[in-house]
């Protein structure tokens, strides 16, 4: 097999896995949009906040330590314990449910029936609030996140695919990151679970009813408050998973909130209302941008991925405005 074809295949495989990581972020957007019609600008910050909380709990960091020390003249920073990753994840989930409750109680409860743009603006405010809260609670330094996920290329895959080069010494076998492989499995399980909840449970159906019409859902006895807390909690869980995977790659730091930028073209392409759409959109964007960088990047100076993802999404939008799997909305005038 020619070398360029082999490496092209490697790029496609890595693109697929990058796409899964993008889809993980996009899933959070889809969930909230599906349930409430809100485009949640704060989803990236939710990931950052969740990951910061997880590291803080694992390391026994005292939240708001800087504030407490400044106010009381104390010198406290840590509780002095280190908590197991699994327990810390569960405790973080409790915090995320608390965040969901607060978001519903103090923000969206007061905005029922408002225009979508008002709800969107509220999420922008929420993003900045959570970003600042995270900094004050846990500090802005970069934190190492180690929940035991393996990292680095799989040597086994590399060695067992070298034969594909048929003696070509410039082919070193396929590179596949073990963290990406695990992320793919996690994402697949997450999607199956989310689709099952959304399609086959009472709360899932109630979620979809709320998305269609707040007032109508209320009139048939669905508790809007409960559904929104439920959805924001699930979105918080998805954000935590995304935060763990991305945080393991780069450490937990402010940039995690910017991964939302990677989810936008995925949503435009896959549709804002479809969980499978987020996955397919992620895969297309992941493969598309990596292949473009591989083939055209060197001719134009590289760094094409960020803008190419949006160009690709725009092209899809022209032909299918609702995205690949989004619901077609026809409004009569």
């Amino acid at each position: 097999m020619p070398e360029s074809l082999l490496y092209g295949t490697e790029v496609v495989l890595n693109g697929l896995m990058a796409g899964v990581l993008y889809a993980l972020v996009a899933l959070g957007f889809v969930l909230i949009y599906k349930a409430s019609g809100i485009f949640n600008y704060a989803q990236g910050v939710l990931s950052l906040f969740a990951a910061m909380t997880l590291v803080g709990i694992m390391n026994g960091q005292i939240p708001f330590a800087h504030l407490i020390n400044a106010a009381l003249g104390t010198e406290i920073h840590h509780f002095g314990w280190h908590i197991n990753a699994l327990v810390a994840i569960l405790l973080t989930m409790v915090v995320m449910v608390g965040v969901a409750w607060c978001v519903q109680r103090f923000v969206f409860r007061h905005l029922i029936g408002q225009e979508p743009i008002i709800l969107f603006m509220a999420t922008i405010g929420l993003a900045y609030f959570l970003e600042g809260l995270g900094d004050i609670m846990w500090g802005s330094d970069i934190k190492k996140l180690d929940v035991g996920l393996p990292q680095g290329g799989s040597l086994w895959i590399e060695e067992n695919t070298q034969w594909l080069g048929f003696g070509n010494e410039n082919f070193y076998g396929f590179f596949l990151d073990r963290l990406d492989l695990i992320a793919t499995v996690i994402a697949a399980l997450l999607v199956i679970a989310l689709v099952a909840v959304s399609q086959y449970t009472k709360h899932g159906r109630a979620m979809r009813a709320v998305a269609d019409d707040h007032q109508a859902a209320l009139s048939v006895g669905i508790s809007l408050n409960f559904i929104w807390v439920f959805v924001w909690s699930i979105a918080g869980f998805v954000a935590l998973v995304a935060g763990i995977i991305w945080g393991a790659k780069s450490g937990v730091q402010f940039s995690l909130s910017l991964i939302a930028l990677k989810a936008l073209p995925v949503l435009m392409l896959g549709g804002f209302t479809s969980i499978p759409g987020a996955i397919i959109g992620g895969l297309i964007i992941g493969v598309g941008e990596k292949l473009f960088e591989f083939t055209v990047g060197p001719l134009v100076g590289g760094a094409t991925e960020n803008w190419f993802a949006y160009v690709l999404a725009l092209i899809f939008l022209v032909f299918r405005p609702q995205g690949l799997m989004g619901e077609k909305i026809i409004e009569r005038v």
Binding site: V11, A18, G139, D141, I142, Q151, K249, E305
Partner: protein
């Protein structure tokens, strides 16, 4: 109309020209945003040093130093806003810690007559004081850094880089693109081939670039990164099992927070540095007069780290320039023009550094009207993951003046021609 413009111009001159009752050093910091991990320690070091001078010596020459902090979030527009908001406070010297902001401020500080110090960043050709009257980039600049890295590799390879393949992984911004031309010129001189790989802001995703590095197998990778780009690059290098000892970051890609997230995998990673990372006597003074008094700029946890030390170094150079300006003009309160004179007469000797408790923090150097660039020296340090510390591998290495000087002259003269600037220092 003409009268109004004249009035505006004279108002601006008065604003920038008046001596202030205290010595004002605006700190265009970034404690928020994707680059805060570097911005916080630099600002902490910068502010703590002035706070120590105020607490211990009553300021500089008996006049208190006042640091005005303004948050830029490493955003160029906010940086310009910060400049506009603080220049009327009697600002003596700007330190924007961003190449993007520097480029925007060069015409502004030149028009307003306020010095700007871009230590190891910014526009490299500002080293030519004959053209850039108000901009200083001592003790070293990007092109110096690039040539120091190549000189080190040259020595490591027995005096020849012929046939070697070097990849430059750079932040796709004004900052990241600065060394490209120098490295290209050095490639012609030394016979190595150069591959350039751009990484878009913020650099969270670099799979494509590292797959390319894995395919092309360069002998060395030089990194011009900042923020999350550094941490991701080091992790990705470890993922493809690129030999860490062949991976060299510039001095903005060589802090503790760049390597710690990768854990043991970062062991052996090298970087340049323009300042030594040692336990300086001045740290004790800062602890005693600033931290213990509860006046630390941050939480005190950054004391002694790479970027904190660099911020402190920048403040030391600013304070010494102010002192020199006071000596030259026989005054204690300074105008920006007097501050510039102090900077142009700055002489940093080993004795002076030792006297101030910053023993050999950097190389000895002097500044002049025509040379705003300093010695240009840098050292190579290596990360020891088990000890979680940097080990210096070399002494300070001088840059390749033969290649750098003509580039500085060419670029600065082009700037002078474009902007109708007459050469000074005759």
């Amino acid at each position: 109309m003409r009268k109004s413009l004249l009035m505006l111009a004279s108002a601006a001159t008065l604003t920038a020209g008046a001596a202030s009752a205290d010595l004002v050093f605006p700190d265009l910091s970034y404690r928020t945003g994707p680059y805060a991990a570097g911005g916080v320690p630099f600002s902490d070091g910068y502010q703590d040093y002035f706070a120590m001078l105020n607490a211990r010596d009553g300021g500089i020459g008996g006049v208190p130093a006042r640091v005005i902090e303004c948050e830029t979030a490493y955003n160029t527009e906010k940086g310009v806003e910060c400049y506009e908001a603080t220049k009327g406070e009697g600002a003596l010297l700007y330190q924007p810690l961003s190449t993007g902001i520097t480029y925007q401020l060069i015409p502004k500080v030149s028009a307003d007559g306020i010095p700007m110090h871009t230590m190891g960043y910014g526009r490299t050709s500002a080293a030519n004081g004959e053209v850039f009257e108000w901009v200083f980039n001592y003790p070293a600049n990007y092109w110096d850094a690039a040539s120091v890295a190549i000189k080190y590799l040259h020595d490591q390879n027995g005096g020849s880089l012929e046939g070697k393949k070097i990849a430059l992984l750079y932040h796709n911004s004004a900052y990241g693109k600065e060394p490209i031309r120098t490295l290209e010129n050095l490639a012609e001189k030394h016979g190595y081939t150069l591959d350039t790989l751009a990484v878009d802001h913020p650099g969270q995703e670099q799979k494509s670039q590292w797959l390319q590095i894995r395919r092309t197998r360069p002998d060395y990778v030089i990194m011009w990164g900042w923020g999350v780009m550094n941490q991701v690059a080091i992790q990705e290098a470890a993922n493809i099992r690129f030999p860490m000892e062949n991976f060299i970051g510039n001095w903005w890609a060589g802090a503790e927070h760049d390597v710690l997230p990768a854990g043991d995998a970062a062991n052996g990673y090298k970087s340049l540095n323009m300042n030594r990372v040692v336990d300086l006597p001045v740290f004790e003074e800062i602890k005693k007069h600033v931290h213990d008094a509860g006046n630390a700029a941050g939480d005190g946890s950054n004391l002694g780290k790479v970027i904190y030390t660099r911020g402190l170094y920048a403040a030391f150079l600013a304070a010494e320039a102010a002192k020199k300006a006071q000596e030259i003009h026989g005054v204690t309160e300074l105008t920006p023009a007097q501050m510039r004179d102090g900077m142009e007469a700055l002489e940093i000797t080993e004795e002076l550094m030792a006297e101030r408790g910053l023993d050999n923090i950097g190389p000895a150097f002097s500044v002049s009207c025509s040379d705003h660039g300093g010695s240009g020296m840098g050292l190579i340090q290596q990360w020891d993951a088990s000890a979680e510390s940097w080990t210096p591998l070399t002494e300070f290495i001088a840059p390749d003046a033969e290649v750098i000087a003509p580039l500085v002259a060419e670029d600065s003269e082009a700037f002078a021609a474009e902007n109708g600037i007459a050469k000074r220092c005759n």
